[in-house]
Amino acid sequence: METQQMTTLAGVLDKKMNRQLKQYLDICARCAICKDACHQYVATQDFKYLPARRAELIRQIYKKYFTKTGEFVPALYEARDPDENLLDELYESAYACTGCRRCMYYCPFSIDTAWILSVAKAILIAAGKGNEMLGQLADAALFKSDNFEMFKDVIVDGFKDIELQVKELTGDPDAEIPVDKQGADILYVALAGAHSILPAAVIFHEAKASWTLSYFEAANYGYFFGDAVKARQIADRFMDEAKRLGVKEVVITECGHAYRVAEIFHEAWSGEKHSFKVRHILEVIDEYITDGRITVRPDAITEPVTYHDPCQVGRNGGIFEQPRNIVCALASDFRDMTPNREQQWCCGGGGGLVAISEMDEFRLKSGTIKAEQIKATGARIIASPCENCRLQMEGLNDSMELGIEVKAIMDLVLEAMPLAGSSAKVTPTD
């Protein structure tokens, strides 16, 4: 690789530099306390997945290009150029990381390895080595908003189909899925799939909420890809909609990373304070149940149920209790996993990994610990909000024959609600 190009790549690190990153790169003691925090390292014992090692690759560039000692005595730090070899290693370490930040939880200095790896991805993208699939998915999402007129009718048609099911379920012929409704209280941002729209629509209807559905999905492959600009643009699609409609709050569907992007990242990225609140749908549902705006049958589920905290919802999003409240309100035998909440093991499905087929085998292997945890509870149903987590756990269910049912929390709520309409169980996926 040309020296010129390597300097350019190192320049990406400089552009992304900030105080936290600099400290992380300066202070890591290479004590490897983080090694047993990472499900991928624990399951594979493969050095390239050791959290500090992943970050070390960036540190090698940093030492070489941005510290005098590393420039003059590179051997002392194993400082390196961002050449092909390093980039290949970086690719494997960075795109495998699910961003669960369990390593950060245990590190004595709270070093955010996932954050360092977001810079790694920026360098890879600059080198033309970003993950192709994640990049395509990000581009497709942006294409949809850039050429919105082309897709609007198809999108609305899809909503109409779901609306029919809402009418049927609620027994209310006037029930609707409002779209583009000026002055609604809530802008609900779902995923492209019906499964995240239908139960929410029924719940909003029953709670008599003033809401409207976003044209765009909350999922953000720009974030997984590691392109902060695209990630922001993808989130802008519904944030701009929220501004335009003048809503009081944006409610994000169960999906974990989408919530974190909306609640934690977006304001910082856009440099603008939101004029509305951002909440997670489960916060809203928990409130509806507590306030009696919707009711659920307390014994709707008698089989043992457990709950998986998605990393981006729990440790990184701060929502621990609401989903448990909801599950406990409708299930008689709730069993938490050990460990749970902020210490929860990552299931292995985050970081966009479920979309990368080359990683399928590795991904399922990295879920071994999660599978053992689930087994230990003896639960028959595992409830979890995040789409990626559920896909992963379904994979684990098949590959490790766990004999469990993987459920979204909203689906459980829907099943537990006494509805006036057809009592036939409707699962949008059938």
Partner: protein, 80 residues
């Protein structure tokens, strides 16, 4: 029309939730030759926007996208 055309690859994407149908099409596009086609059947209505958007942004072509008995049938042609 999609019924008559013989695709190089048939993908059953029924039951998959968005964006997985789009992901699967994208993952499989390399396995048909340039100019070849994939016939994909999905059940998630979101795929009606997702798959065409993916095709446009990656420079491929959706020859047809139809709703047949509650299923969504796509003919996707690999252009490059």
């Amino acid at each position: 029309m999609s019924e008559e055309m013989k695709a190089d690859l048939d993908l059953d994407l029924k039951g998959l939730l968005c964006p997985m149908p789009m992901v699967k099409v994208s993952q499989n596009i390399a396995s048909v030759p340039v100019g070849g086609t994939i016939r994909a059947v999905a059940t998630d209505p979101g795929s009606m926007a997702d798959i065409p958007a993916w095709a446009k942004s990656t420079g491929n072509e959706v020859i047809s996208a139809e709703k047949v008995d509650g299923e969504f049938v796509f003919m996707v042609k690999r252009l490059k």
